[in-house]
Symmetry: C2
Subunit: 236 residues, 2 copies
């Protein structure tokens, strides 16, 4: 009798504790073990739901960029024995711009019951707040680091229909904005959603030409450009 794998949301910011719906509180207390990106983030997560003793006793396993495909099967062993485990990422939703999808794929094949729970998704929050189309959008993860490849990729994304979304490491955010100002068409609409769900949250949508005198700090940021021009753009 196979067990269960619960895809549990994590907060985007430690202060946003009221972003956990009651359904998450109810379900976390059922888990018998937790798969996380690091032991530190696992313990921090569990502390919100369990006493110190239960928190330290909870079995943990790691799934991160160092995990080999060959190790995934082992991660599912407790669930093959009928146990219920949780999967979290360091922030937001597991499997979305974060590890987890290969594990879920394998869990499907093994007949493990998989369930997910409502929580914060920074990509979707940024898309809602941008004012860009949520009827047709693509998330690209990280764009190439090499500057020639990045420039070519940006020129390609600018021509695509719908909303194009990507992320960048916080320390590279300022450079990304400078590149966008240099490479994109002056009339392309760019939205930058930074420090989402923190007190410093900021979402700005304007044309590249209007970004000229703006800069961006080393903040976690989501970048969005709109290929399909909103009909009301003329009002800008």
């Amino acid at each position: 009798m196979q067990g269960k794998l619960f895809l549990l949301p994590n907060l985007l910011d430690e202060t946003a504790i009221s972003d956990f719906p009651p359904s998450v509180n109810m379900v976390v207390t059922q888990i018998q073990g937790l798969i996380a990106e690091s032991e530190k983030s696992a313990r921090r997560y569990l502390r919100r739901f369990f006493s110190h003793d239960l928190m330290t006793q909870m079995p943990l396993r790691l799934l991160n960029e160092h995990t080999e495909k060959s190790e995934l099967e082992q991660l599912l062993d407790p669930m093959m024995q009928g146990e219920t485990w949780g999967l979290i990422s360091d922030a937001g939703l597991p499997c979305i711009a974060d590890p987890g999808s290969d594990l879920v794929f394998l869990a499907h094949q093994k007949g493990i019951f998989i369930e997910t729970f409502v929580g914060p998704c920074s990509i979707i929050m940024a898309l809602q707040l941008s004012g860009f189309s949520g009827q047709h959008f693509t998330f690209h993860g990280y764009l190439p680091k090499d500057s020639n490849q990045l420039n070519a990729k940006l020129k390609e994304l600018e021509k695509l229909p719908g909303t194009q979304i990507w992320i960048e490491a916080p320390y590279r955010s300022p450079k990304m904005l400078e590149t966008l100002k240099a490479v994109l068409n002056p009339t392309t609409l760019l939205c930058i959603a930074s420090s989402l769900s923190t007190p410093e949250q900021k979402v700005v949508t304007k044309m590249i030409s209007q970004w000229k005198n703006s800069s961006l700090g080393k903040e976690p940021a989501i970048f969005l450009i709109s290929g399909t021009i909103p009909l009301i753009k003329n009002n800008l």
Copy 2:
């Protein structure tokens, strides 16, 4: 002094009331009016948070597929007077596969403060549960209805990198599955996530050839195909 526009989540299913995080409960009671797809869904939404009297007194405005672009400015009038209004869609998150993004775009230009709140997003839940890549994915909304155009579109999507996601009207779900079985490559991975967040929720991921003897009811469903073959596909 401009007011505020709150993008409020709605439930995917009426029974899933514990999917509202406390942050939503706190913020809904601050609104002075609500923009919704229909009056019926607005009243049903408000009933969860307000007394009968307050619910019936709440000012409502409609934003749906019949709303002209020229009417959007009027919708923002109360916020230009300093009021705080909410925006909901019939299910899930406003602006995501639902109306709202043009209104948010215009609100940005008018300097209205815009905030969003955590809630259920069926596209993201389906993507998490599929086991397909959440590092690179595209949501296409509805695909063409015309069968020649649909077939051509599916052949095109099958060649794209990352996960391709679309929706279909529930009464057309059975026909969509039949089309996919006829048109797609036998080794293409198809996930169908149906009746999400209801007691009938079902998520099945397998190759087209393995869908041969399966059918689908007239259920709300999200369709996902994977262009990048997971390394563990060989285990299927």
